[in-house]
């Protein structure tokens, strides 16, 4: 017996998992960030900058931002798929979304490593 599912929607499973994995990373970072800021109580440029100059926080912040961009790509794409019906326009919105997010990722590198 051939038991093949032809129309299974599991092509979305990878994105579903990535959206959840990035959500967990962002949630953990949010707690760490709030605790660090609460403990340091940055009241000056030097103290604020010091938080992100720390190697661990720099890496964690970058991981957070990359997760955010990937998570936003999946989430915003889902929103376009729900509300934008004409194929051409939908494709355009998706490409624009992906383009700005890739741009933001470059910007994030610049912010964190040129500070």
């Amino acid at each position: 017996m051939v038991n093949r599912v032809l129309v299974g929607a599991h092509y979305g499973l990878k994105d579903w998992i990535i959206q959840r994995a990035t959500a967990v990373i962002m949630a953990v970072y949010t707690v760490v960030f709030l605790v660090v800021v609460g403990a340091v109580g940055p009241d000056s440029f030097e103290a604020w900058r010091g938080i992100f100059a720390n190697g661990f926080m720099k890496f964690a912040t970058f991981l957070f931002l990359v997760s955010l961009f990937y998570h936003a790509w999946i989430g915003v794409r889902d929103i376009w798929m729900d509300y934008v019906k004409p194929d051409g326009l939908r494709l355009l919105m998706m490409i624009a979304t992906a383009a700005v997010l890739v741009g933001y990722a470059g910007w994030a590198v610049q912010i964190l490593w040129r500070m």
Binding site: R20, V24, A27, A72
Partner: protein, 130 residues
Amino acid sequence: MAEMAIKKRRPKNLDLPTIRLPLPGILSILHRISGAAIFLLLPFLLWLLQASLTSGETFASAKAVVAHPLAKIILLGLIWFYMHHFCAGIRYLLLDLHKGVELEAARLSSKIVFVVSIALTLIIGAKVLW
């Protein structure tokens, strides 16, 4: 033809003012709205992060922007959106693990999401904006 006959017999309720969205439904639509709003405000947030980290002068200008009443309102709304998306997101992750899927538990957890996210928003807003 057969399709049309079936379609016609479907019950319809478009009397919008009489439709009540239960709390988990409000939570859900706010989760989508908050995710979209944070996405749209990303350039502003990245600019703020960059200005706050570049130099003493740009830090001061970022501070001045944040001190503007309009910016305060936007940021307070954004903090609430983030906290709502964060808390509701954790609730969804637990639901995905089949934790709290029963009706009563799901209602209770959506209340908790609203209470906790609004409380966090007020605390953080009071600390960083006022």
